[in-house]
């Protein structure tokens, strides 16, 4: 089993509904976010191209945060997702410094917090909160090892990219382009 997510940059309108849904679902403290929207604008007027991406932890296969964690609080869980055990985390910040995507943040309670792919929902057969609220249905979630999952199907049909693959992290968040 390998959980992964794909975000369609052609369909995403940058409404930030995914951000709010995540904050509500996961009780993210005010002022912080586990997922966020990035807009990039390329080119010179009038030839401009906009790309909008809903970003979050890439749940990397070769996760630097898991490698550098001194206590094993950051670990690989079911389906290859990266989680933090709050009662093992000492809040040293090594994982935050190690993430090229800056996907983690120090929770005001002291431990380090990040996207969990809403594993508590996934275990009950639901989709992550961000995926299920998306008004343009631009996000796909599922098991890459299952050829019929939403994410496998769309990755077969569409061209995609990952973020900073040259960092060697083998990210599992795909952007359809």
């Amino acid at each position: 089993m390998r959980y992964a997510m794909a975000v369609d940059t052609k369909k995403c309108v940058g409404c930030s509904d995914c951000v709010v849904a995540c904050q509500t679902e996961n009780n993210v403290p005010i002022g912080y976010c586990r997922d966020w929207v990035v807009e990039t604008m390329d080119g010179t007027y009038p030839q401009l191209e906009v790309e909008i991406r809903s970003e979050r932890c890439n749940h990397c296969d070769n996760a630097p945060c898991v490698r550098c964690c001194p206590t094993g609080a950051s670990h690989k869980a079911e389906g290859g997702i990266v989680l933090v055990k709050q009662n093992k985390c000492i809040g040293c910040g090594a994982c935050i410094a190690s993430c090229p995507y800056d996907a983690r943040y120090p929770h005001p309670k002291g431990y380090v917090d990040k996207c969990t792919f809403c594993i508590h929902r996934v275990r009950e057969g639901m989709k992550p909160a961000c995926v299920s609220v998306c008004p343009t249905k631009c996000m796909y979630f599922g098991d890459l090892d299952d050829p019929n999952s939403d994410v496998s199907t769309v990755l077969k049909k569409r061209k995609y990219k990952t973020l900073i693959p040259e960092a060697g992290t083998q990210p599992q968040l795909y952007f359809l382009i």
Binding site: V19, E55, C69, A97, S98, G110, V112
Partner: protein, 313 residues
Amino acid sequence: MKEELIVSGRENMMVDPQLHIWHWPIPLYLFLGGLAAGVLFFAALYYLLGKEDEYRSAVRRVPFIAPVALVVGLACLFFDLRHKAYFWQLYTTVRLESPMSWGAWTLLVITVASFIWSALHIRELLPDWDWKYKWLKDLEVFFNRYKKQLAWVMLIFAIITGVYTGILLSAFNARPLWNTSVLGPLFLASGLSAGAAAIVLASKNREERLLFTKIDLIILGTELFLIVHMFMGFLASTQVQIEASQLFLGGQYTMVFWIFVVILGIIIPGLLDLMELRGKHIPAVIPGILVLTGSLFFRFIFVFAGQVSRWLY
């Protein structure tokens, strides 16, 4: 011209707009750890070489800095943790992949060793010292019997501590400025030069001062070589590392790095050391203080600049 404008909705504290997760306690600890490593390395080395009486300050007196520096450094590390009540989780596991994990164990060993070494030489500072309890006296006898083994442990773990402070940073490939293997030897050299400078500052014996001035000069030369080597590596590497090196080659850290670290921290004390060795009398306090402050500035600049350097996307 092609331009790219990136707008992100993320505003996580200490992460955006640029990473600042490690504040002043971390570079201060890296300096104190490096200094302690340098001091203990020379103490152990000259004890094992049988020069205990000739280089009395290096072997017996200056090592008293080490337990103080290490305890203050550990306090800094603890202070910088955000989930402090769980710090003991560090000592429930050994993870060789994580420099912070084996570094924490190394610190434990070297701190204990530095306390024992200082206790064995307590009469250098307080000639009338009495351990009062019999078991403490027995312990002193015990460690005196195994002093050679203790010195070996100190020698090896001092090197590991000195290198680890650099490897800790170089293990983060997310921060291109830190992600160079030169950082380990460079931090070790910086720690050793700080240790040698501390001995020159403390020593009252001219022969000992000259020896450590010579050692300091060699290490400062090595440091300068490693710094040049590091920038050559960056400039020949990928875009992110070229941009990281630009922080020091025209960017925001240029002045402070070249003036306080390279010129005042390495070149001028190096020249003063050279003049001292050529027979001109230079007050030991000048190169000593310059080397120590240069070493301190180096840690601060590197920890802060490294957090600014990043992958662009």
